[in-house]
Chain length 439, copies 2
């Protein structure tokens, strides 16, 4: 709704025709068997292995260009794809082939009347559009997720990874050429014009998955009618209640912040009940100092020793860094209000030994993940046991939270009859049985 026509151009005729080709190939892919899709993944993995040298060489060229362009070190780290990292990504493709087929699962099976049987079966979405920044291994992961779930994909990598992406894409296509999946099911976009044009491919692209900065995600959400799977913000909270095992709470706070500070599921704000603040905060201060985490406190937290005062902007801010806002709250209710106001509905946790307080927190906090006495860092598709992660969604509607392969399928109702017509039920001649059948 916030689009400006100049920001999002109409897709070019060339992009439209490429997207239409992907869609046609995806329709055929959607009819492939589980075994055919598994075999395609194994062929992709083999082809990547054969091309490993060329891929690493292309990546070296990208890294050299990045060095001469003076790219930020964090970006360079994400860009780097050496032999070991590539081998890991290829292993990921093989693991994906082994995951249970997400397609063709019967979710509902009802006899509406004798001879009139309804079923709801999972089917691929169609075509996914993926826009990612820097990390070239994301191309391998996303392409294999798409093929495993029977979807075509339009893939747009970052400009800085263009050589790596081209080499990987060539290997993926060569792999597909040795399988029964049409290689046209995957297309690599290379220009910014193309990735912008993709946002307007309603009807040809069914889901857009942005993998990159919050700004990228927000821009995409604001400039497309196509559903977007992702999250702009990960503003996670940890509330330490008055009834608490303080030693355990401190371990959880440190893990939630420092195990990977740039992750979306790291905490940005620590809320501490006033009744334990004077005892708990000194321990927090020294433990986080040892971890080189800067604390920014509310006035009461500062009075208890937090060195730097938090600004108004620090509440609800995703630092993505070794910075943690700390607030002393009067009650559980104040903590709930703070989270409702400043959180991003990603993952929020409580440390408490009081079952009633735990229950209230778990039912009142409206986030994709609500945790009791454990680290927010568990919010992840692999840790949840999904085997693969498409992304993490902070929207209200499903799919929500960490999304596995199920995020790349939808369902369809199939109704099989023997000449059944609705008029017979309207007239009362026949009646619905609505009998559940085994799945």
């Amino acid at each position: 709704m916030a689009s400006t026509p100049s920001a999002v151009p109409d897709p070019s005729p060339e992009l439209l025709s490429r997207a239409a080709a992907v869609r046609r190939a995806a329709m055929a892919l959607g009819q492939c068997s589980d075994g055919q899709r598994q075999q395609a993944l194994l062929a992709m993995a083999q082809s990547l292995e054969r091309s490993a040298e060329a891929i690493v060489a292309a990546n070296t060229a990208d890294l050299e260009a990045a060095a001469s362009d003076q790219l930020a070190p964090a970006l360079v780290a994400r860009l780097k794809l050496d032999g070991a990292k590539l081998a890991g990504a290829i292993e990921g493709v093989r693991q994906l082939a082994e995951l249970p087929d997400p397609v063709g699962r019967r979710q509902l099976h009802t006899e509406l009347d004798a001879g009139l049987v309804l079923e709801r079966v999972t089917v691929p979405l169609g075509v996914v559009g993926v826009i990612f920044e820097a990390r070239p291994d994301a191309l391998i992961q996303i392409a294999s997720l798409a093929i495993r779930s029977g979807n075509g994909a339009l893939l747009k990598g970052g400009r800085e990874a263009s050589r790596s992406c081209a080499a990987i894409f060539e290997a993926l296509q060569e792999g597909l050429a040795e399988s029964e999946v049409d290689r046209q099911a995957l297309a690599l976009l290379t220009t910014r014009q193309e990735s912008l044009g993709m946002l307007r491919l309603d009807g040809l692209v069914d889901l857009i998955i942005p993998r990159g900065s919050n700004e990228l995600v927000r821009f995409i959400q604001d400039n497309t009618r196509i559903p977007v799977l992702g999250h702009a913000d990960g503003v996670c909270h940890l509330f330490v209640d008055r009834s608490v095992n303080q030693e355990q709470a401190l371990r959880i706070a440190i893990d939630s912040k420092t195990q990977y500070p740039a992750a979306c599921n790291a905490i940005e704000t620590l809320l501490v009940h006033q009744e334990v603040a004077s005892q708990f905060l000194p321990a927090v201060i020294s433990a986080f100092q040892a971890e080189a985490v800067e604390l920014r406190g509310c006035p009461r937290a500062c009075a208890l020793g937090v060195a730097r005062a938090a600004s108004d902007d620090d509440w609800g801010r995703e630092f993505s860094d070794r910075i943690l806002a700390v607030k002393v709250v009067e009650s559980l209710e104040e903590a709930l209000e703070h989270i409702a106001r400043h959180g991003s509905r990603h993952t929020d946790a409580i440390c408490t030994t009081d079952p009633e307080t735990a229950g209230r927190f778990l039912s009142a906090v409206d986030s994709a993940g609500v945790y009791l006495n454990c680290s927010t860092r568990f919010a992840d598709g692999f840790r949840y046991g999904f085997g693969a992660e498409v992304g993490i969604s902070t929207q209200t509607l499903p799919p929500r939270g960490p999304v596995g392969l199920e995020g790349l399928v939808t369902y369809r109702y199939r109704l099989r009859g023997e000449g059944h017509i609705a008029a017979d039920y309207a007239s009362g001649l026949r009646r619905f049985s609505h009998r559940s059948l085994p799945l």
Copy 2:
């Protein structure tokens, strides 16, 4: 994305504060038990019964105003709410109270490690915004669907039904006042400015459900970032294959078109395989003539007796009337292409006795409903056995097709630990078990 700022104004401060009040009440409602929500529905039903006379009188006043405004007869028919229709709507509220609770269902239950247990539980969406035209009984239905599923609702009825809606809304609130559900969980909007402003209540409204004309739905889809449950078009097809029980196919064609021609699940186009066309079409022509349905044919259909030629616009057009486009196709593949090109992915059916053709159609047509040898008119939440229908969605992502109460809930992940931290798994000190537990 197609919005013009003038079409969708910012919500007024008054609307914002009303929506915030609904959201607060909805948060409390979301914590209510199944029994409390059931009881609230029964209290609403009783209150509506007590106010029946006032509601019918208000409706009579709306009908008189409609007559003096010379409203279209179809609109007047939808506007009318006499004692019998009201009693039916009240009975619907009581039935809804009896439906199984959609909230608090455990969908996933996994032990990630000893003492670290993940579950996924259904929870209310929060607040739904509903915009409907004319039919005042829709207000009763939607309000009770919302309360049953633990959601607050902003409700905007048509201007022509304003007196009826006000009377119904008063009765609903009086009913809620006798229950443990805060009456503020429901709010009635009355002006066009308010319903436009609602489209911008991102963060306060979680789902918009438009109930009205295709134009209304399309306008809303194009002018909000909030997810929309609904469908702009219902362009359904019936394909009569060459291997077919022609008598049965004719019965199905007639039912699919005439059982309720204005419904979204009525067919708009009949596709006939060329090998049966010369035999089947004459029967179609006389049968539809008897039903006062106008046929518009492709050249080959016209050559076989269809009196009027279809224009290019007639393919893919939702007539919502006693008009049916008829096309002779060379093959199953041509039928599939026609449906892919002109359909709206609502419901499409095939009549065939060939299992292979049936299988190909059921897997290749990418619509919310794909039917074999039965009428498209079965595409309906009640007929599917869902007990209640929130709407029918033609989007690709779930919820798709007829949507019952499950369309008004989402889910949340709850993770309960005993001090578990992610670092222990990263270091290899602990390993995930990912053991499925009983639901």
